[in-house]
């Protein structure tokens, strides 16, 4: 992974190239992280992939995250890897929750750049309801097609059936009937 000064250099160059794209950097627990705006995310990823000296050519994984009490609420993490130097960098695109509950937070799809992201973006769409613009086949992948809701969001009910223990049986009066 790039060390802390190296990370700052990358962030500085990104800011220069894409007009204040970088929101912040973090270097903790052996992981270098850049937080970026969602709009130029494709430019940032392409810059990290193609710029000589960077060459993070491998997209190891894509994750969705729900940071519910915080704003912006959602994030998409791209874990990039330089195979030659074995350096990793995490790019976080922070997404606001739209005011309209019918709308989904949206970000550009990086499938055209990293084909491996296709299923991972479908998974994020399935569980977090984050829309990937330009994804070739944005459908649910794990949950049934007719499932309603985004089950990994923090405000989604856990589901299942309540289990009675001695510590919570008073909450369901006359459960033994």
């Amino acid at each position: 992974m790039p060390d802390a000064p190296g990370l700052e250099l990358i962030a500085g160059e990104l800011n220069e190239a894409f007009a204040e794209a970088v929101l912040g950097t973090a270097h903790a627990h052996g992981q270098a992280t850049i937080e970026v705006q969602p709009e130029p995310i494709l430019d940032v990823l392409r810059w990290l992939r193609d710029t000589p000296g960077q060459e993070y050519t491998f997209c190891a994984s894509v994750h969705g995250v729900d940071y519910l009490p915080q704003t912006p609420r959602f994030a998409v993490h791209y874990q990039l890897l330089n195979m030659a130097r074995v350096e990793r960098i995490c790019v976080k695109a922070l997404l606001d929750d739209p005011e309209d509950p019918e709308m989904l937070p949206a970000v550009d799809s990086c499938v055209s750049m990293f084909p491996t992201a296709e299923f991972q973006e479908r998974e994020i769409y399935d569980f977090f309801g984050i829309e990937f613009r330009g994804h070739p086949d944005l459908r649910r992948i794990f949950m049934p097609e007719d499932y309603v809701g985004w089950p990994q969001r923090r405000d989604f009910p856990l589901g299942g059936e309540p289990v009675l223990f001695t510590h919570n049986e008073h909450k369901t009066p006359r459960w033994y009937d």
Binding site: F142, M143, P144, Y147, G149, P151, F156, P157, L158, G159, G160, E161, P162, V163
Partner: protein, 195 residues
């Protein structure tokens, strides 16, 4: 005492009835069929999760269920008599299982193996069906997480006795509770008996 002598009047009503039914030659066709069925059950080759590992070992040397006529795992549901739900049933899998069950020919039986398929187990969440009997009639529930192969074999033997028309009473017998079940009481009310 010879059978002819007994039938002449030494027995009456229920005793006689039972005696006749228990003889091989005079048994009812249904009983013979059930005896044959219970000793030639083929489970479907169908595993859901980690319980399937234990399920696989019941055909191996240590607990060889071929001894009891569960001769082999049938690779097609159309030749299978028994569906063993071995693992958690996700809501995406439930219609698939129902379809496999519908493809099986009558008579067919279902064993729900382990805590997950019986009640959802530790997966009390949005993705797992809380008990497979929400969409399938289950004959025997085998508890455990996962049940040992011996436990599944025991469940299979219970199923065998159930098919033969003499199900084990289990806790009903142990607590002297036969007739106190909800369904038995409802049936008694329907008949007009005092409960």
């Amino acid at each position: 005492m010879r059978a002819r002598d007994m039938l002449r009047g030494d027995m009456d009503d229920e005793e006689l009835q039972r005696y006749v039914e228990e003889r091989v030659l005079t048994t009812t066709l249904e009983k013979a069929l059930n005896w044959a069925r219970s000793n030639a059950i083929w489970p479907a080759t169908f595993g859901l999760a980690c319980c399937a590992i234990e399920m696989m070992s019941i055909v191996a040397a240590r607990t060889d269920i071929a001894r009891f006529g569960f001769e082999k795992f049938s690779a097609s549901p159309r030749q299978a008599d028994l569906l063993i739900l071995s693992g958690r049933v996700s809501i995406k899998m439930a219609p698939v299982i129902r379809r496999i069950y519908d493809q099986m020919l009558e008579p067919r039986w279902v064993i729900s193996m382990g805590a997950c398929s019986s009640s959802g187990g530790m997966f009390s969440n949005y993705a797992v069906v809380q008990g497979a009997d929400k969409f399938l009639p289950v004959d025997v529930h085998v508890p455990g997480c996962p049940p040992r192969p011996e436990a599944l074999t025991y469940g299979i033997l219970k199923l065998q006795r159930q098919i033969q028309g003499k199900p084990d009473e289990g806790w009903h017998e142990r607590y002297d509770a036969a007739g106190t079940e909800e369904w038995a009481r409802l049936a008694a009310v329907d008949k007009g008996d005092q409960v």
